[in-house]
Symmetry: none
Subunit: 221 residues, 2 copies
DNA sequence: CATCGGCGTCAGGAACGCGTCAAGACCGGC
DNA sequence: GCCGGTCTTGACGCGTTCCTGACGCCGATG
């Protein structure tokens, strides 16, 4: 599981990082709000641990911007137990709120809980005559199984994880082909074409795999 | 029979473990919810004994997660006799609910009962002219018994436990050959070939043991 | 109207993964 | 020790998947 750790305190980062890695999580680090937002967009972590006391932007502001487009579970850390801030954070879509000082075990537990809650949101997605079962890795169209190659799966999975939402070309390439393939948009054209041929009634008039010229693609239910 | 024991209390684990092993069960241990879910996925126990008072996630949450994809019988242990929690657990698919303190004999009986009930739930899987009886470790094809080697059985069992669902090469190797055989996909090719020869009408055109190139295999009913 | 950038399509050829086979190693029972 | 069954291992052919470049279309731009 990928965990993004947003905190300006190097000591705390180090301690949490050790604990998280001990549980086989992949740990990403961001020391300020700007890079935190960038990291969520580019690396798609499964959970974000966000300290409200950041140097540049307030943590609350980071959370607000994040929630404009992402549903990634966020566990908020704060030195203050003040009710107002806590309410504010939870209203903005934080999944949990942990007050310092806290036990490492408790935090790890809350992170796991948040990730698990989020992970079981959409087991199968139905879109018209398509049924997309992500955990089973199975797509059916009007009841018939559709066979996809691994690359086609990676692309479809990335799009389907945020239905209706635009996913940039850069992020798609980053996720499916790796960070090095920053601007090879021809891959995308070829594979989106392949997916449309397999999934759409009329590949020339796609209803699900929508192009946003110059930006990316979105999966429309 | 494989029993997964999920409890954070080492004393209780030890006591139950002795009792279960005395009845010729194979006992697996998990001390928290996360490893419990992992253990069910990877080791496919026949019964799960789940203590609701776990350190990380609530036992109820573990149960909910589990039921998203597994039908393994679960016997719940709890210190509280509160009706709400009990109802909640049973609603989520627990097969039995045991309140502490309990007698060892009682618990063992309930475990046996749960396993028996579950065993008669899906005793056999019928797929075309195949009948696969997991508890009896027996496969028949058009009424004739098919002889399988231990490795072939392990592979088939892993695939058949989640019909229609893709099982990754990694998980198959992990379960049948052990964690060390992370990328020896040649084993899989050889043994899937052997199974097809024994189970499929036309091994070159398999209808049940389906390959998903680069990803894994699935058992199609 | 001409140009340009972005998208969709297609069709090789390369690279990879899969199925098969057979020889040898290993391990049990006798 | 011998024998049968089982598992491992490597090699080979073949089909699938992936990459790559070329081309046409379309809308935007000047």
């Amino acid at each position: 599981m990928k965990v993004l750790l947003v905190d300006d305190d190097a000591t705390l980062r180090r301690a949490l990082g050790i604990g998280l890695r001990a549980e086989d999580h992949e740990v990403l680090i961001a020391a300020d709000g700007r890079s935190a937002l960038q990291a969520v967009r580019e690396d798609r972590p499964d959970v974000v641990v966000l300290d409200l006391g950041l140097p540049d932007v307030t943590g609350v502001e980071v959370l607000r911007q994040l929630r404009a487009w992402s549903t990634v579970p966020v566990v908020v850390l704060s030195a203050r137990a003040e009710s107002t801030e806590k309410v504010q954070a939870l209203d903005l879509g934080a999944d949990d709120y942990v007050t310092k000082p806290f036990g490492m075990e408790e935090l790890l537990a809350r992170i796991r809980a948040a990730a698990r809650r989020a992970g079981s949101d959409i087991p199968v997605l139905e879109a018209g005559d398509l049924v997309i079962d992500l955990p089973a890795r199975r797509v059916t169209r009007r009841g018939d199984v559709v066979r996809l190659t691994p690359t086609e799966w990676g692309l479809l999975e990335m799009l389907v994880r945020t239905p209706g939402r635009l996913v940039s070309q850069r992020d798609l390439l980053h996720e499916v082909w790796g960070p090095a393939y920053g601007r090879e948009t021809n891959y995308l054209r070829v594979y989106v074409g392949g997916l449309r041929k397999k999934l759409e009634d009329d590949p020339a008039q796609p209803r699900h795999l929508i192009t946003e010229a110059g930006m990316g693609y979105r999966f429309e239910i």
